[in-house]
């Protein structure tokens, strides 16, 4: 079976690399964008199965991206998971209203992120071994 494709839209290169390594280890294929404009362009180009979206982005923001995705029928159906360092008070509600499947605040727990991805993709619960941090032993 082909790998599911995930587009990571985040202006922080280290975050993109870290997510790529984690997702690659879980058999996902990743693509990247570092700003709102490229986020929509890369989504058009690769037609990912899921988008991980930061909110604070150059050339717009995550809400702008979700708004643009909604206007393009074949992109409007892609599940979006918002992963942001912004506070969750107003942004979480706004993200859900904009169509996000989930809102996670950075720093994100790897096991939680993978569980949310699998749920959004309709995949069975994973067998990924939790990190020591996830198990609370660290």
């Amino acid at each position: 079976m082909d790998s599911r494709k995930i587009l990571i839209v985040d202006d922080n290169a280290d975050i993109r690399l870290g997510m790529h390594l984690r997702l690659k280890a879980n058999q996902y294929e990743t693509f990247f964008a570092a700003d709102a404009f490229s986020g929509v362009a890369e989504a058009r180009k690769h037609r990912p199965d899921l988008i991980i979206l930061d909110l604070g982005l150059p050339a717009g923001d995550g809400f702008t991206v979700m708004e643009r995705l909604k206007q393009i029928p074949f992109l409007a159906v892609i599940p979006v998971i918002v992963v942001s360092a912004r506070d969750g008070l107003g942004n979480q509600k706004r993200a859900y209203e904009a169509g996000a499947k989930a809102f996670l605040q950075k720093p994100v727990n790897d096991a939680e992120l993978l569980a949310v991805i699998r749920q959004a993709l309709g995949e069975p619960a994973g067998t990924k071994k939790p990190t020591l941090l996830d198990q609370g032993s660290v």
């Binding site: 870290g18 984690r22 604070g56």
Partner: protein, 74 residues
């Protein structure tokens, strides 16, 4: 909201945002090392990365309790 209050609020939100992003990277790559995604670690190396992650976790708790509920920096 008075000007000094607004500026303090913006500064707090900015710090929260930047610290969360940096902390996310520390935790992300620490877990990548622990999970052996960049090669297996020796016992000693593993112990040191665990110490790093423990302390990152403490910082997160401090952040959550001290800085949550602040407005956005943008």
């Amino acid at each position: 909201m008075t000007e000094p209050t607004r500026r303090t609020s913006e500064l707090t939100a900015y710090l929260s945002h930047e610290l969360r992003n940096s902390l996310a990277c520390i935790q992300q790559f620490g877990n990548i090392l622990i999970d052996g995604l960049a090669g297996e670690l020796s016992g000693e190396q593993r112990e040191y990365v665990c110490i790093m992650l423990q302390n990152a976790s403490k910082i997160r708790k401090v952040l959550d309790s001290a800085l949550d509920g602040t407005p956005d920096p943008v």
